[in-house]
Symmetry: C2
Subunit: 168 residues, 2 copies
């Protein structure tokens, strides 16, 4: 079987497109481009790709951010933020961004990124991960729910949890 | 006028109950108790007050957490987490906890804490603040909306934003 591969099955070693890894400095330009394209696609203002590339590298070097990429060159990314938890001695993880290029969706890249994000969070001592998403992002919501994320408090029929935000 | 004061108006200096300040080490025991009582009230598991007091102090000393308290001794708190933003050179603020003792609600303490939280966030260079809350927390939601927080993406009639979470 050769699931979720963009390369034909057959002889030789084929790197499946779903291989997820931590972004290296050589990936930075494309990480910046992906972040820029992400916000542009959703109608949000975005700094220039080069600025975002530098900012993401700064955050990674700060030690509390991990950027995971899928594909070589990167065609999607997950950006995770960590901090010490309040309610436990562990850390908590915020999945700040999850993006796959539109032309490559439906091939499992988002799921591979999300699975890797959860594994990375566990590996870094997190006992909790959360994220915010819009009600209209049904594909993303389906993926989150498939991997056990819930948007209801405490129990499956608990109240829905909202993000409230404010620009300062 | 003597708004929102628990003391009668009149001569002398009256400290209104809505005076908000950063928690000092001397407040730690009550901060831990408030955090414990917060989660207990909402049916969430909570570590012991003393453990929470120590943890909150550790986070404050780490430099990326601020605890604001209202009242002397503290009768309510706001706990803010900061980190460098991805999309701007500034910081972003997460209002992790906002709590007022049940017997003291309806007197403006929550609003005073929220206003102080927003001011503190701005003072620390944040250009964005967010929080998560449940659909059933109508009093809290009304307060957030009164102070300009929105749970819709980009515009007032945009899609609702959900928190998704997962224990690891």
């Amino acid at each position: 079987m050769c699931p979720k591969s963009t390369s034909p099955c057959g002889g030789g070693t084929v790197e499946t497109v779903t291989a997820v890894r931590e972004a290296e400095p050589a990936d930075d330009a494309l990480v910046g481009q992906l972040l820029h394209d992400f916000n542009t696609e959703f109608g949000d203002p975005a700094p220039e790709p080069l600025w975002l590339a530098r900012r993401a590298r700064e955050l990674i070097q700060g030690g509390e951010t991990v950027v995971l990429v899928v594909g070589r060159p990167p065609a999607g990314l997950a950006l995770l933020r960590f901090r010490p938890a309040l309610w436990s001695p562990g850390t908590e993880c915020y999945l700040a961004e999850l993006y796959v290029r539109p032309s490559l969706r439906g091939q499992g890249l988002g799921e591979a990124l999300l699975q890797a994000a959860v594994a990375t969070a566990r590996h870094r001592g997190a006992d909790y991960i959360d994220l915010g998403t819009a009600e209209t992002d049904t594909a993303a919501r389906g993926l989150y729910e498939k991997l056990g994320f819930r948007n209801r408090e405490n129990r499956d029929d608990g109240p829905i949890m909202y993000v409230y935000e404010k620009d300062l």
